[in-house]
Assembly symmetry: C2
Homo-oligomer: 190 residues x 2
């Protein structure tokens, strides 16, 4: 069962009883996204968060010149959402779509908050992974500010070797904040 992946993920941080597992399970929806299909589109109320159990999704911002800037990739065992829309209820500014055929477990913000009331353990779990998320994006921001593109790419390969194999170069470039042409030059020289 794909939900076991989520249970395992949660149990890295807190311990769950069978009852809590089934409670959580009741609050989730399973959904598949075919390659290129959207989970979230800019302008929508994106009140769902997705836990990927198979495949790969990405969240990205399209700037005023039409360029895409990727905030996050989510392969198996990762959560992805437009946190702004999800937590505040405002219109999403991000798009989230599937880079591969993808299976995910969805939870609505409403259900998530209910879950927190019924069982504060889950609030602890999300507090912890949100803390981890902050640390990770802070690191990324500092890397972007302090390193040149070839170094950022080297770090990316080191940190996410699987993504480097699995994703097309355009996507990696849009994550690193450089053009695909320049990434090509980095790969084939320095």
């Amino acid at each position: 069962m794909s939900i076991d992946l989520l249970f395992q993920n949660i149990e890295k941080h807190i311990v769950l009883t069978d009852k809590e597992k089934s409670m959580l399970s009741d609050f989730l929806e399973e959904k598949t996204f075919r390659k290129r299909h959207y989970f979230v589109q800019e302008g929508q109320y994106a009140n769902y968060s997705a836990f990927v159990t198979k495949g790969c999704m990405r969240s990205y911002y399209v700037d005023t010149n039409g360029f895409e800037h990727i905030l996050q990739f989510a392969i198996e065992d990762w959560w992805i959402a437009d946190m702004m829309s999800y937590t505040t209820g405002k219109e999403a500014r991000l798009n989230i779509d599937a880079l591969e055929n993808t299976e995910a477990l969805l939870i609505s913000r409403e259900n998530q908050l209910k879950l927190f009331e019924v069982c504060p353990k889950f609030e602890k779990y999300f507090r912890i992974i949100t803390e981890n998320g902050i640390v990770s994006i802070q690191n990324r921001l500092l890397e972007n500010m302090s390193l040149l593109a070839p170094e950022r790419y080297a770090n990316f390969v080191k940190k996410y070797p699987i993504l480097n194999q699995r994703l097309p170069q355009t996507q990696i470039a849009a994550f690193l904040g450089i053009t695909p042409e320049f990434l090509s030059k980095i790969r084939n020289r320095g």
Copy 2:
């Protein structure tokens, strides 16, 4: 009382009883930092988080060439910490110091976690402000990737007019990810 500022901050998100307030109060330490003095230094175990009640602090990373990159400013009513060290217990990679004479309320990670056990409301509060923190830093990362320096500066002025008045140009430049010389050129018509 300076702790009232914190209570007000918390009560934007959850409701506190007097008992809970005094409980929180017992877990906090009041501390002052003179201008240029450190709250956290790279290499330390930075197991305290600070809520600034007066003055201004900054967290920053010093890269291998000795350049400072500012992650966050914290004036009155803001929390600041090396989240990585605070949450994982590892050695800090950031420095945090006072840009002005500063007063802050400190909470140790240990006490914070105790507080969560005694009263899950506080875990909710920190879950919420951590969510808000993610949204804010995600926006900043996307701005850095999609905007030119003059636009980033314009947004900074619009978003933090007080900081723009209150901070020296070198600090703002180190936050925006540009050199002080270039910020000078932007300000004087660029």
